[in-house]
Amino acid sequence: MTLNHPKFAYTKGLHEIGNGAFAWLQPDGGWGWSNSGLIVDDDQALVVDTLFDAPLTRDMLDAYADATPAAKTVNKVINTHHNGDHCNGNCCCPDAQIIAHRATHAHMQMEPPELVQGFLDAAPDLGALGDYLTHCFGPFDFKSVTQKLPDTLFDDHLDIQIGDKTVHLLHVGPAHTPGDTLVHVPADRTVFTGDILFIGGHPILWEGPVANWIRACEMIMAMDVETIVPGHGPITTKDGVAQVKLYLETLHQETRKRYDAGMTYQEAALDISLGVFDSWGDRERIMVNCATLYREFGSSHQAEIAELFASMAQYRSVKGTA
């Protein structure tokens, strides 16, 4: 089953969507390897999400500027949510207006680049957990980042203009994170979904409830769009969105059965088989997904961040890294 949009190869770098819209893709879409978008009209340029560190973001902005003169000056940046792989590179756009949902602004301050750098600094003393943290975050240069917070906030939705194009920002969280935002460009028949879509990789349910995430998938499927740019993975079609929705529904059902049977969330994650979805990348994220769903079902256990990453490291050691 291919989830790729037939018009777009999944290769690193710039992809022209048409009508002044572009995507920047970073295969393989695993931890930290996120996508971005560019929307231009007249002399206006809007970037959807910056990248995990400054060098990666500068390379992308150079490519955007080479692709279209309007992108030599980025007027606006939208952060689809607060995770650093979608906003750390804001510091590379010093003159741009930075727009985000109010919860994204709040949570960016809770998850600054120094925090993740601190995880990497601790990694050598943490055994298998440290190896896993280095696998996830080691390729990135967090010391290159000066956190730049959004200066324009919205609560439910916001329409902005880029030249003659109207861009709709729609808050659909909390789901993956509290501030999850879809960026819909009707004139380009395109939507940039942030991490509401991981294509070919396991979604990670940091926040929930999962019903919000399923509803967000349904919202995308109801849009008049032809091109769907996920937060991670290849550009996709509505078939890809349907697969993510089915993943979430299946995960919910399978986790509920094991919660009702009295298993711990770790036992449930190790026991669950998701069929075709098991071949998607970063399978160990099912540990976080089960922990979050258990809280949704009523469990009082609040897993701390070290426990969550240690559980994912354990999953990889038991199940392998494929």
């Binding site: 995880f119 600094d121 601790a122 003393d125 701390e304 070290a306």
Partner: protein, 80 residues
């Protein structure tokens, strides 16, 4: 006056849970120094402080008499 929490020998998540409990009873602006020996506390305590709005004023590392690491976190209760 800075309070002190001895979380040496405790396995995570106990150091952060004890820290959380004590901070809940403190007043905004008051400070606590936490000593822990589990290296996973270097993830949990900074993350907890960020999420809960407490200020991690300083983080350092020393050793006990047997050369084993001790992690020290100086935290100011948020909510001012």
């Amino acid at each position: 006056m800075t309070m002190r929490l001895d979380a040496l020998g405790l396995k995570c998540p106990l150091p952060v849970l004890r820290t959380q409990k004590i901070l809940a009873d403190m007043l905004p602006g008051q400070q606590i120094e936490v000593e822990a020996s589990d290296p996973m506390s270097r993830l949990d305590i900074p993350h907890f402080c960020r999420e809960a709005g407490h200020a991690l004023l300083a983080q350092s590392e020393t050793q006990d008499s047997k050369g084993r690491p001790i992690y020290i976190f100086k935290i100011e209760r948020g909510g001012l």
